[in-house]
Amino acid sequence: MRDLINRMARRVPAWPLYILGVVPVAYLFWLGINGGLGAEPIKALEQKIGGIGLQLLVAGLAITPLRRFFGINLIKFRRAIGLLVFFYIVVHLLVWLLIDVQDMARIWQDILKRPYITIGMVGFICMVPLAVTSNNWSVRRLGPVWRRLHRLTYIVAVLGAVYFVMLVKGFQVEPLVYLAVILGLLATRVPKRRKSAAV
């Protein structure tokens, strides 16, 4: 099973992920325009796109543990997944800015005054240097610094899950599951001894 997956993964290129990744966004916008997202399509769009972004983040974080514990090597897809996370969060943010609130003063107030929005924005800002340095040239140039820089992903993931937890009303299980899964995936990276530290 493991070998089969690894053989398949070796044969499949990573670039189609970029194209496949954009399809759901286009489809959701199409649904929204045509009344397929219910009576309040703007909120639905924000939530669905943000949700996919968080799911992709979990997928990206799962790649290293999959290799370490199950010998499944999907590392060639990790950059595409990471950039798609960034893409989804950018779209999520743009929907909020341009379609939902539409008012710069109010947006600024919300970012400063609403803790969950503050946390979401910090998470987004942490993603920017990661997206910018996601090319081969940056990896070569930054060397070991690149690895350390890209551990920011862990902070982004925790902030993303906390943002989701803070956003809901009442006691809801779903965001807590995301938080638990993300913390679990991060826990697999805590080095037992210094030597075995893996990223």
């Binding site: 009576a39 909120k43 609403r114 009442g170």
Partner: protein, 303 residues
């Protein structure tokens, strides 16, 4: 006593949606007159757009009714399992005639009228809904409120085998809410039993629910099985979960924000992907009829 309250729109003698929509032009005219009177409307949100009723489809497909799940489309998907007949409302506490009141008996004694109300959710979305129902004060009169009673408490049905969301601990079931006696007796406060002249659908709180149009929607408790008249403030579900976010009064107030989001604006549902936000009105546009009840109260403290 029915028909005490005069809508700021024309009285409606027809109930179907088509007729409603045909009357839109007339309503727009009436609404504009109202806007001049209150002067409360600014920007692109004018009275006309504000008081156009939402479609039956919008009203019955976008609901918060956590007894059936936390998604907006969950109630419409799962509420069909609820049986609403037979239905009794237990009225107890400081009343002359406590007891179980069968829904049919209540309906036989009440005069059903139409009320076209704005509905403002605490989550900053809104709708305009043509309710059918009767004034809560008429129901309370049936039971005979005793002197000294100061509050009214309400309770939603708890029946997890028919209300799938109650199997999760999203809220502390059963859902409870409450009003001060003057709020309960205000002619704006109704028990709704219909929408667009049809029996109220399960997802909107069948067979009878409270509608308090100047308060955030969560105060308008659904599928009521118990009403208690008492002399102290009754517990309210959201208030108990998070008192800093959901006060006992929860009057719609654009100047007092929810800690997690602004209440200054709202988006009316049904406007599609490019519907903007409109300013939220003080007391949801009913200030001239209800603000007097809160004279002398600091609305930032008693939110």
């Amino acid at each position: 006593m029915a028909y005490r309250w005069k809508n700021d729109l024309k009285d409606k003698d027809v109930t179907d949606e088509g007729a409603f929509l045909n009357r839109r032009q007339l309503m727009i005219g009436m609404g504009a007159l109202g806007a001049i009177g209150t002067g409360a409307f600014v920007g692109k949100a004018n009275a006309a757009a504000d008081l156009e009723p939402n479609s039956y489809e919008d009203i019955t497909s976008y609901n918060n009714f956590y007894e059936f799940g936390t998604g907006k489309d969950d109630p419409a998907a799962y509420a069909h399992t609820l049986t609403t007949s037979p239905w009794t409302v237990k009225i107890e506490g400081m009343v002359d005639k406590p007891g179980d009141y069968a829904f049919e008996d209540i309906m036989a004694k009440m005069t059903i009228e139409e009320r076209l109300y704005r509905f403002r959710c605490v989550e900053a979305w809104s709708a305009v809904i043509p309710w059918n129902g009767f004034e809560l004060s008429d129901l309370l009169a049936l039971a005979g409120v005793q002197s000294g009673a100061k509050y009214v408490g309400f309770e939603t049905l708890y029946r997890p085998e028919e209300m799938v969301g109650q199997n999760r601990r999203t809220l502390d079931w059963p859902y409870v809410e409450g009003l001060r006696m003057d709020e309960a007796m205000n002619p704006l406060t109704i028990m709704a039993t219909g929408i667009y002249g049809k029996d109220i659908p399960n997802q909107n709180g069948a067979p009878l629910r409270l509608v308090v149009p100047w308060k955030y929607g969560f105060k308008s408790i659904k599928s009521i099985v118990k009403i208690t008249v008492l002399n102290e403030e009754p517990p309210c579900t959201w208030n108990q979960i998070n008192a800093s976010e959901y006060g006992f009064y929860s009057n719609v107030n654009p100047e007092v924000d929810h800690p997690r989001w602004s209440q200054a604006t709202e988006r009316k549902i049904g406007g599609g992907l490019f519907a903007g936000r409109q300013p939220t009105l003080m007391m949801n546009g009913y200030a001239d009829q209800v603000a007097g009840m809160y004279d002398g109260m600091d609305l930032r403290k008693f939110y």
